[in-house]
């Protein structure tokens, strides 16, 4: 760090910052310095302590110990309003916008200069134009896409004229093209002398955009580097601590392989005021195939998953067919009995009951499909059989846990996700539908889950994966379809798919392409 003394001054410097939650040390003596006019990357896996660190910088968490220096002077940032008055602005990962208020009202809430709503609306319109972030101040946030919401967040942050802007995983909700636009905005801000702390686990972006990087693992800083001089692999090694394994998928010739899951002209009215209608979706997944569905969050993926899994029934029985049988009018248990398995996006509260043990969670999802194995005469539970099945899954998926049969909520996200996926794989389902299989999961667990999905398909099942993570889809899918605005594009075979092609579809650039007219498949 001494070599940097002649360069720009430090805007903010953090020394020995520590945050302890009960027995967990989320941040352990973290050192970090950000210079004026640089884009500084904060890299790390989920659970590495990035969010905790940033919350302390922004005043929404109080550090247990450590020092903060702002422009060379020691400061205590006790609340977000203190951070804002110093000149620190933040764009959150999980948006902190109010859905029932308009964009201008949302912006007004974080400004404290007594401007009227009309002034704020015109100022934000002007500013958003300057930075290429088009925005209608009178629109209701609940009606906006995630990309548009992020623009409001950024505009709101910029109107406070901060010196340091913190962005928490800003591109996780954007298409590749939207991300490019964001990078232009950020580069422009840097040229104006502002500093940016850029939090991400996407290495290519960091290499392209950032001047310096700080890497965190298990709550500690494990290194500082110049990302432009590193390779993606070397950055990944710093983040994970070991070499990163990627799932291996060999191309497969499907030919006339039988179709196991078919979606035929599925449409759905919006279920709530802010949810997406589904429009005439056609899809077919054959034995041996992994089909990926890409798309920006909130384009109907959740609604589609509910329709396929049977959480929401269809008007026509033919809209969903599993192994040739029409199941559109039957519920989730009936669909499971036909050999299908479903893993929803939300692990806690949807995929698993948080305060129940793993064995109980196993019984909850399989009491009907494996009645003979788990339920004795008279409705009594065969606890021995359930225990041994739980152990089998834990071993097969390498679930790490602190107790023999812990509550679901006691597991880390990655381990719980391995258990939930393993619980379905254990049945050898003929059809597997997974929504966001590795969201918020560490790299090791993600690789294991991806490999398991590929193996299941190659063993003769049909696997449908809905994911926002394009890298993941390119790693495991044999073909990728894109969901946009409740419509699904034709699947593009893996060999022909590029990031650019998929990205354009994600942005809705080719609406014609996204409305295929399949002939009725017999």
């Amino acid at each position: 760090m001494a070599k940097s003394a002649d360069k720009a001054a430090n805007l903010i410097e953090v020394r020995g910052l520590t945050k302890v939650f009960g027995t967990l040390t989320a941040c352990d003596h973290v050192d970090l310095s950000i210079r004026e006019g640089e884009i500084h990357a904060l890299l790390g896996e989920n659970g590495a302590g990035k969010s905790t660190l940033v919350k302390m910088l922004f005043g929404s968490l109080e550090p247990t110990s450590g020092e903060l220096f702002w422009k060379g002077k020691p400061v205590r940032i006790g609340s977000p309003s203190v951070a804002r008055s110093l000149g620190i602005g933040m764009v959150f990962q999980h948006f902190s916008l109010f859905e029932a208020l308009t964009a201008a009202e949302n912006i007004a809430l974080s400004l404290h200069d007594g401007a009227t709503l009309d002034e704020i609306a015109s100022r934000s319109r002007e500013l958003s134009k300057t930075y290429g972030l088009p925005l209608d101040p009178d629109s209701l946030v609940g009606d906006l896409s995630v990309g548009e919401r992020q623009r409001i967040e950024i505009t709101r942050c910029l109107l406070q004229e901060p010196d340091l802007i913190i962005l928490d995983e800003p591109t996780s909700v954007l298409t590749p093209q939207e991300a490019d636009k964001l990078f232009e905005t950020l580069e422009r801000l840097r040229s104006e002398g502002k500093s940016i702390l850029y939090i991400s686990h996407r290495l290519e972006e960091v290499k392209r955009l950032c001047d310096r990087a700080t890497v965190m693992r298990h709550g500690k800083v494990v290194g500082h580097c110049d990302p432009r001089k590193e390779t993606a692999a070397s950055l990944a090694r710093m983040m994970v601590g070991t070499d990163v394994v990627t799932a291996e998928s060999t191309p497969i010739e499907l030919g006339g392989a039988p179709e196991l899951l078919a979606i035929c002209g599925l449409s759905r009215k919006p279920a709530g005021p802010f949810s997406m209608p589904l429009k005439n979706i056609w899809l077919s997944v054959r034995t041996g195939e992994v089909l990926g569905i890409a798309g920006v969050a909130g384009n109907g993926q959740g609604e589609f998953f509910e329709a396929v899994s049977g959480e929401a029934l269809q008007e026509s029985a033919d809209a969903v067919r599993i192994r040739g049988k029409s199941v559109g009018r039957v519920g989730i248990s009936a669909r499971r009995r036909m050999g299908a398995a479903f893993v929803p996006e939300e692990r806690l509260g949807h995929g698993a009951a948080p305060r129940m043990k793993l064995s109980e969670n196993l019984l909850l999802s399989r009491h009907d499909t494996d009645r003979n194995a788990f339920v004795a005469l008279g409705g009594f539970v065969k606890s021995g059989a359930i225990q041994s099945a739980t152990q089998r899954i834990i071993e097969a998926m390498d679930v790490r846990k602190s107790a023999p049969d812990p509550e679901a909520a006691a597991l880390s996200g990655g381990n719980l996700q391995k258990f939930i996926i393993g619980r379905e794989l254990d049945r050898q389902p003929a059809v597997m539908v997974v929504n966001q299989p590795t969201w918020g999961v560490d790299a090791g667990a993600a690789a294991r889950i991806r490999q398991a999905l590929i193996s299941l398909a190659r063993a003769g099942s049909a696997v449908l994966v809905i994911s926002q993570d394009l890298d993941e889809l390119f790693e495991i899918s044999d073909a990728i379809a894109v969901m946009h605005n409740g419509e699904l594009s034709k699947p593009i075979p893996r060999g022909e798919a590029t990031y650019e092609k998929i990205g354009l579809l994600m942005g809705g650039a080719e609406p014609g392409h996204a409305a295929p007219h399949h002939p009725e498949v017999a």
């Binding site: 609340s79 902190s96 109010f98 859905e99 029932a100 609940g142 709530g272």
Partner: protein, 306 residues
Amino acid sequence: MDITVNILLTIATAATPLLIAAIGELVVERSGVLNLGVEGMMIMGAVCGFGAAYLTGSPWIGVLAAIIAGALFSLLFAFMTLTLATNQVATGLSLTILGLGLSGMIGTNFVGLPGVRLPNLYIPGLSDIPVVGKLLFGQDPLFYVSIALVIAVSWFLFKTRKGLMLRSIGDSHSSAHALGIPVIAYRYLAVMFGGACAGLAGAHLSLVYTPQWVENMTAGRGWIALALVVFASWRPMRVLAGAYIFGAVWIGQLHAQAFGIPVPSQFLSALPYLATIVVLVLISRNKRLTMMNTPASLGQPFVPDR
């Protein structure tokens, strides 16, 4: 002509307590708190208002006492639900039950006593104009207060910065907290405003509507006020309209009984509640409208994590 004016006047008198209680509860619910104790706070206002007016001889001191009683009673609710983060529904219900019991006990010696009536407004000249004079310039003072409250609340919620902050807390208290808005403090003030309004509505019953003390004299008006807030989809001007519709139903029921319409009187007494149910069913069909105006964090306790 006189009959029409009189009917309109009685409708206004029936609507005013509903309106005052409902506009107060609207502010409470816009801040994300559901206080089901309106009935209890109202009856506390009624008994304390009556008592203070009887003992001092001044109806205005009665009004003041009712406001203070309602606000203090709601403070109990605020402490439990906001500071101790208890369940709002259960706490609100027990507040109503407590209020009904406590008011009966306080009012034991007031039963049958002659009340003090808050005098109607009288402006020489203006109040004597036929028809409109009585309607516009000759009503009880709380009628004017109720209209002023609606306008003030509407202006506060939608035109001021503090009103915007209150609405944002109702929409998402955790986001509001992240922005540095003092969620708990705002909710305390909102709940106490609601309590003061409920107390004032109670004073209207025991000092204007029927100037005497009768146990349970609120007769379910607190519940109607709660339903009114939902009926109005949390919009002040719609509360005004709703209060007058409900007031008209209430009066229509009385007149129908007086004219001897061959309908069981119990059915007519049940009419306002029936209307509430019908309206609730009707408006819940428009999900979008309801969701847009419904404070999303309504009824959820807020515990900031540090």
